[in-house]
């Protein structure tokens, strides 16, 4: 799957941009604040239907404009697919401006879900370092997004789990009568356990899979110097269990053990919503002991694994978006990454301030765009 063309109109700092893209490697070069990340974000927006940088669609409309149009032509399974996205502010009456988003695939109006089913992308941006350094909730979010992308049932169970959790916490907060409280909780507990155990098991299996892939990549990137290992930390299980009825049973026992404490703290204390995972390099926890470059490399290994998982599932690589990765990787690591992208023919968009990061061989094999104030300058 790859972009052949992109056209942007009044999107971010681009008034009018039209590019023919390379099926393999595309490099966006430019000084700070010229629009490199904007362009990457726009391409991703076309296949995702929303921005990975903001929840507010209207933010991507060029300042002082009423609408933005994004258009992409993508080759998927040797067929050309046209995606058009329109973001239009509507102010037909005195009520608040509303934003209308229209997604069209081959001229037919479609929902975002249709887009997400057809087109896949993997993004690596500086914020993703938070997967290593940030709070457990960010790692859960990473896991959940990854798994949902390749396993739709997981997404369904995940949202149901959080819905059950909401009901359960509501009972813990509101019901004062202890007997009634327990009765009411028991209505929800079997479902919490069922959905929750499924989530735990799927995450354990997923981590195991990622472990194998990431290990391979990480060995190569680091010239066999670093061994990466991911471990899932469940507050329900002592060992990484892969038997669903056992997980069910453990979950049930933990809930019973926590009854009193839960009544005191008025919230659900155990379950996958409190789980985490850690990354170790040569036995040391990377969150505490890893250097910046090491942490970045770990995220890169995880992202490369994600690429492979999607390829396994879809039969084709997703589109790869790399924002600002080059600056913190040493030459060997950069070389490996670019080599891999070219070897596997993954369509990749990469931003960089400096063209010196790319050797002549790479430059020859890629298309380079210099960006200045929202325009492409010929090199």
């Amino acid at each position: 799957m790859y972009f052949k063309k992109v056209r942007l109109k009044n999107y971010r700092n681009f008034s009018n941009l039209s590019l023919d893209l390379d099926p393999n490697l595309n490099i966006f070069i430019g000084n700070n604040a010229q629009g490199k990340t904007n362009l990457l974000e726009g391409l991703n927006l076309i296949i995702k239907g929303h921005s990975y940088r903001t929840k507010e669609d209207r933010e991507v409309i060029k300042w002082d404009n009423e609408s933005a149009y994004l258009f992409g032509e993508i080759n998927k399974d040797d067929e050309n697919v046209q995606i058009a996205l329109a973001l239009e502010k509507k102010s037909e009456d005195f009520y608040k401006n509303t934003l209308i988003k229209t997604i069209k695939i081959n001229q037919n109006i479609q929902k975002k879900a249709a887009l997400n089913k057809e087109f896949k992308g993997v993004v690596f941006s500086p914020e993703h370092l938070q997967i290593i350094k940030g709070a457990p909730s960010l790692r859960r979010k990473f896991l959940d997004e990854q798994i949902s992308q390749i396993y739709p049932l997981y997404y369904k169970y995940l949202s149901e789990y959080y819905r059950i959790l909401g009901h359960r916490n509501n009972i813990l907060k509101k019901e004062i009568n202890q007997k009634k409280k327990k009765e009411k909780l028991l209505i929800w507990d079997p479902r919490l356990i069922e959905r929750g155990s499924f989530l735990i098991l799927t995450r354990i299996k997923f981590i195991k899979k990622i472990n194998r892939l990431a290990h391979k990549f990480h060995q190569k990137i680091t010239k066999e110097k670093e061994n990466i290992e991911l471990t899932y930390q469940s507050n329900i299980l002592k060992d990484q269990e892969e038997n669903i009825s056992l997980i069910n049973k453990e979950f049930k026992d933990r809930l019973e053990e926590h009854r009193e404490k839960e009544a005191e703290q008025r919230t659900t204390l155990c379950g996958p919503h409190r789980d985490d995972f850690s990354v170790y390099i040569n036995g040391f926890n990377i969150a505490s002991y890893g250097s910046q470059g090491q942490q970045r490399t770990v995220v890169l290994s995880l992202k490369l694994s994600e690429l492979e998982l999607i390829k396994e599932k879809e039969g084709d690589y997703p589109i790869f978006f790399l924002d600002d990765v080059m600056s913190e990787l040493d030459e060997d690591r950069r070389h490996f990454l670019l080599g891999l992208i070219i070897e596997k023919k993954v369509q990749t968009f990469i931003t960089s301030i400096n063209l010196d990061y790319f050797n002549s061989n790479i430059k020859e094999k890629s298309r380079i765009f210099k960006i200045e104030e929202g325009k492409i300058i010929n090199l």
């Binding site: 005195f94 009520y95 149901e160 059950i164 009901h167 009411k184 929800w188 479902r191």
Partner: protein
């Protein structure tokens, strides 16, 4: 300062926008519609609203809406009186009736268990259902709550309560889109669902 409508008109918009599925824009459109209509037709609309509110009540057996003590379905001697289909709301009853496949009776719960919305079992018409099971000669209960988590939990809660009574309990098997609701299911999927119901354990 931004423009504001005159008070009586703003109030009308406000009342409309309290209605389900009506956003501010639609409320405004409806209010303009009222304004441009003749006084007679507006009076007739107001009368219809008041009359509906006064005369329509809930069937004392099943909870369906009716203008009498018992609804049409409960009064109908041709219905199969040994089966009760348990539903969340009256509008689900209408969806199932439209399939023409179901000939039994109904029981409207008036919601599902959903603590986040302040609904607990005691807020639902579950007691009256249990009473019916003891007084009427019921052989099968079909649980047709919606296929979302609240509907599922409500169905198993009721199943547990009915267990000692040794009545057959089935849950309708859904081809209904996951997370969808009965009201929006088309007739074909609903018909399939009714025929493919499964026994609850």
């Amino acid at each position: 300062m931004s423009f504001r409508y005159t008070k009586p008109f703003a109030r009308l918009i406000d009342e409309f926008s309290k209605m389900p599925g009506i956003g501010p824009k639609t409320a405004q459109r409806l209010a303009f519609y009222i304004l441009k209509n003749s006084s007679e037709s507006v009076a007739s609309l107001a009368k219809a609203i008041l009359e509906a509110k006064e005369k329509v009540k809930h069937c004392s057996i099943c909870g369906n809406i009716t203008d009498q003590e018992l609804c049409e379905i409960c009064r109908n001697t041709n219905r199969d009186k040994s089966t009760i289909c348990v539903i969340e709301r009256v509008r689900d009853l209408i969806a199932i009736e439209n399939t023409g496949e179901y000939k039994g009776l109904y029981h409207v719960l008036e919601g599902v268990i959903s603590p986040l919305d302040g609904v607990e079992p005691e807020n639902l018409k579950i007691d009256s259902l249990l009473k019916r099971l003891k007084t009427e000669k019921i052989q099968e209960i079909i649980l047709a709550t919606n296929p979302n988590i609240e509907g599922e939990v409500t169905a198993s809660y009721i199943t547990k309560l009915i267990e000692p009574l040794k009545i057959k309990v089935t849950r309708i098997a859904y081809g209904v889109p996951i997370g969808g609701s009965l009201e929006f299911a088309d007739e074909v999927t609903l018909t399939q669902a009714l025929m493919g119901r499964q026994e609850m354990k």
